[in-house]
Symmetry: C2
Amino acid sequence: MLEVPLSRAYGDKIPVTSIPDFQPLYKQVYAVFVRRISEGAWRPGQAIPSEQALARELGVSQGTVRKAMDTLASENLILRRQGKGSFVAEHTQEHALFRFFRLARPRPARERVTPQLGEETVRSRSANDVERARLALRKGARVVEIRRTRLIDGAPKVVEKIILPLGLFPGIDKQRTLPNTLYSLYQGVYGVSISVAKEELRAVRANKGDAKTLGLEPGTPLLQIDRVAVALDGQPVEWRVSRCDTRDIVYAVDVN
Amino acid sequence: MLEVPLSRAYGDKIPVTSIPDFQPLYKQVYAVFVRRISEGAWRPGQAIPSEQALARELGVSQGTVRKAMDTLASENLILRRQGKGSFVAEHTQEHALFRFFRLARPRPARERVTPQLGEETVRSRSANDVERARLALRKGARVVEIRRTRLIDGAPKVVEKIILPLGLFPGIDKQRTLPNTLYSLYQGVYGVSISVAKEELRAVRANKGDAKTLGLEPGTPLLQIDRVAVALDGQPVEWRVSRCDTRDIVYAVDVN
DNA sequence: CAGTGGTCTAGACCACTTA
DNA sequence: AAGTGGTCTAGACCACTGA
């Protein structure tokens, strides 16, 4: 059932300008669908109802549902298969690994590289001020700190520090093993789907720890990726700082 | 007039699978529009015909034209204004500067910074092997090398080396002054519109020249952006290597 | 074969711009 | 008032999937 009724303006002789914050029908429908995914009514991997069924349920035309689902698909929130149906996207697929992991070999190959997992440590503690700012946490909130190394072609190339709010991911510090793609864990176990990641890139010097882990001289330039991942509801849910040895691999972006 | 007739399959009792490389109508229409822009039949800033007029001309429905134009708009190739019409995008606008210039202040501000131009040198010479590979040039082709400094808040923060095929941009080395956004010059004077830029980011050490220009110690880590810009027809038209002092500014990306 | 998403059409009405 | 893009509908037919 619909939580909030759609407000239909076009075709109802109501001047749109008289409605504050008016959104066209297809955007309202889109918002309904996002809420269903983000609140778990539609679960990752599950098939969602057909366009026709949704159109009937919401009392709109199939074209309007389709336009909303086009947007969902372009944002990788759903996956559509002609003849089969539409499915809530899972972060477990290989494509999800590469969605947020943009390291690749340099030109001319430019192929994405598949990182392996190296050493890993996990502990929980109180959040410091920077962490509270990044993750919008209250004073005294607890966080989990994960540190790990990523290998490429067997050699350590990236060190990562990952900070998670323990309140959002209870017991994650007690997991025996963490997967290569944490985002599938967030989604599968905790129902948290990442919608966008905001990254800031800098060049920094390797400190002693970086240098030892990566087998470099201290002071060697590293590419630092400072990323805050945001969930479907807009809440920041992960702060991750990766430092990469970019002598053999690069961070690849296509700007449109 | 249409250069190549559209091949209509749907609705013509022709099984689509029997046509090799079949593209749906709206994609064919999209390709026609891109060609018109890339070949200059529709010029930057100019209004293009209305959806109805284009639908009549091409013998398709307005909805099909709209779908093609939706794609163009999402790629920033055209600009649509309700009540006014659709216009070929110009690279002269402020938004175009930021489209390919992604340096910003760090969180929490995260606002884009507007770079000023510092020193600049321009010379032309034969392309070396790397340049020929990057720009797909023939042996003996000539290139223009532009070196310049970009200032942020008045202080030099970025050094750039820009390599252009002289064949594509004849006389560009004789221009008195080059604009801050070269892409507007490429488009306005030479009819070359950039569709995508492929960037590779690395952390590197400042060499002596970098250090002197940026007021740093040699060896200081710099963020190196290695970018090849590609025109609408798929041809690489610019190779640019920027080295940035990222102590006060960062390269900002939002990954969806 | 029925059901799904993908393509395409025709037409209505709306809001915005310009004249 | 006329013309533009924006929204929305209803319906046809297509290609693909799985029973």
